[in-house]
Symmetry: C2
Subunit: 411 residues, 2 copies
């Protein structure tokens, strides 16, 4: 039953989702679906789930992390261990028709249990590994191969990513899987039981990018090669005043512009002749990257960053100045970007927050604040389950539900 209230910018209008989640992947999935117009209710244990105090924190101890990944949702808190709390949550899930969760191993949240009441349920469970065992981004990443080829060529030992890339990819994949399942349900009335393992997202990616195939078919091991781009020419350079730039030449035109800019054209031509190297070929540029980098380095080393940026901007070369998080936070690409709007975030303050990166018909959906924990407990019980004020008060009295500030911390 497609909902006529959908709009290009709110294509998931009318979709109701209950999320029982923590950390990055599942909360990001829910937030992404909410940005597309879905009504997402995150349900937490009273006092918050394991991510409620996750760093970074404000000076007052509120989690910037939690609010950042739960924008635009409603929040309900209930005692998820008490049968009465589980019954309420079950009714919210079967009423909504979609459960998004990474809370594995709870029988009362199983697909079979819930689908007995709601046969067209869409049930998406995010797991660490497909066998149900626990794994997190940092452990999954260790097995992918990437940490052993990240960083300077002479470094020994693993270098982890700081960006939790697998969690993020898993979260957007989960949002995609729910959206596709909604289309199927709209068309046929059928639900779906979906699982998505964080480890499988990572392994599929390593496979799709050819790292496994290269190792299996060619017996080649990708070398650790610093900031060089495999099979292409790309490298970082540092200015006279200590600012680093990433510089990439994907095409012969980019490369020609780079040699002209750095006054290396004659030297590159001489090299090409002496080495019988065709630098219009991307692989050749990669093979000879060290000597090319050596040729280009003095031009960067001899100039201040300002002059380098101005000169690069006049060429076709792909480039960027490395920035720290605090430089980026005040850069026009944030402060003058319509993706970011000023958000009044309870517990955190006023800050520029990103909406959806997806721009529809020329506009982004702006960010909406994250809820306070338990902020919507009463309104949801009233509006979704039709409970009377007296019933809700009784649930509060017996600590089956809560709202407002955390009463205790569950870990």
């Amino acid at each position: 039953m497609p909902n006529p209230a959908t709009s290009p910018a709110q294509p998931l209008a009318g979709v109701r989702i209950v999320e029982i989640s923590s950390f990055v992947a599942a909360p990001l999935a829910g937030m992404t679906l909410a940005q597309l117009g879905a009504d997402v209710i995150r349900i937490d244990p009273i006092g918050g789930a394991a991510d409620y105090h996750r760093w970074p924190l404000t000076d007052d101890g509120a989690s910037i992390y939690w609010t950042g990944l739960n924008k635009g949702k409603r929040s309900v808190t209930a005692d998820l261990r008490a049968p009465a709390g589980q019954l309420l949550v079950t009714r919210l899930i079967t009423g909504a028709g979609i459960l998004l969760t990474n809370a594995a191993g709870r029988d009362w949240l199983d697909y079979d249990t819930l689908a007995a009441t709601r046969p067209d349920l869409i049930h998406l469970e995010i797991l660490g590994r497909a066998d149900g065992s626990a794994a997190v981004d940092y452990t999954v990443n260790a097995a992918t191969g990437f940490p052993l080829v990240t960083g300077p060529a002479d470094h020994e030992g693993p270098i982890n990513h700081v960006l939790p890339a697998w969690d993020l990819l898993c979260g957007v994949h989960a949002a995609l899987a729910v959206t596709a399942a909604v289309r199927h349900r709209d068309a046929t009335g059928q639900g779906s039981r979906i699982t998505l393992a964080l480890e499988d997202v990572a392994l599929a990616t390593v496979g799709n990018l050819g790292f496994l195939t290269e190792a299996a078919l060619c017996g080649r091991q990708r070398p650790r090669s610093g900031n060089a781009i495999y099979g292409q020419y790309g490298q970082h350079f540092t200015s006279a005043d200590g600012v680093s730039f990433m510089v990439v030449a994907l095409t012969p035109r980019h490369f020609r512009d780079l040699t002209e800019l750095t006054g290396s054209t004659a030297a590159v031509e001489a090299l090409a002749t002496a080495l019988t190297a065709d630098f219009t070929d991307e692989g050749t540029r990669y093979r000879h990257r060290d000597v090319l980098t050596g040729l280009f380095t003095p031009w960067f080393r001899d100039r201040p960053a300002q002059e380098i940026g101005t000169a690069l901007a006049k060429t076709s070369v792909l480039w960027e100045r490395y920035r720290s998080f605090d430089e980026l936070a005040i850069d026009p690409r944030i402060t003058a970007n319509p993706l970011f709007t000023l958000l009044q975030q309870p517990q955190i303050g006023e800050y520029l927050a990103p909406g959806s990166p997806i721009s529809v018909n020329g506009a982004h959906i702006p960010a909406r604040p994250a809820p306070r924990l338990g902020e919507h407990t009463e309104s949801v019980l009233r509006d979704r389950l039709g409970l009377s004020p007296e019933s809700i008060a009784a649930l509060h009295m017996s600590s089956i539900v809560a709202n407002g500030a955390p009463a205790r911390t569950e870990r």
Copy 2:
């Protein structure tokens, strides 16, 4: 018009997409949509787009990269600069109703041009930056802040990621945006004009994860801290035989198990008393990470990897052994994983290829081979445009279309 042929595992059955793309984000979006049941035709210039020779290559020079990111699509090649070629492609796009592209700045592919013929068109354009200027994963990443906090605390200079995380995230976001727009079109008959900038995907992510908020509101700069997990306890350790392990203790139970395993319980208790530190608090474990790591290190250093893995497996601690790509390629998590099936890939060979990481009703959609470049030119012109064999032959003769092996390389 929802298609009754959809199934839980093929929720996008009946969705027709034309993709004009190169590199990672747009091809991954198309492949992801094809895995969900969409019919995806990738159209390339004769001889292939800029990514057709991208590394890694087989010993015969075929691109493992290209085949890895174009599985399950059909391939048409045409002269995209000739008006006759543009006309054919325009007819394929308006017939399909969805264009997915990262080929910016071509008037004949504009939304307005195409929607004049097909008003309910879904048009998704991936850009480098929102203003239309060029950017790639490696340059976008330089501005995000991550390279300056990646790697050992004493390292100076940027350390890039090897995983093109922004491209990947952008690609899955694009697949999500198309799928959501299909739902809206199913419900209302309206199309959508969607843009997605690689840079905006990255900036939204940095914002959602709290890095910008932390810098803007608290004036704090995240330190470079090696493989430690910010705000938690996580670190890598190396065994007597030189194998590294990532070890993470997110909860008090994980941490208690880790101290018991390493025989550090009494020492950790003494430290807690002496430092007035409550190690049940995740932030406290992070603040004191160096002394904790110092306490745990000898247990790992004194044992072979085999013994460490066996012992860790008996605890609740989250852990993983670091693996290289070639170790991973022969690991049971690939070779015994139903996500991977043996694929006969023309030009590449037989290898274990990943299907969709999304498992629906207990099964993955297996991988299908990537097409040979131009493999489906004739069948698509015949079946989609109703062209006669004579017309198709004439198009071949005048080099407006091609099939089979590349005739020339366009760069």
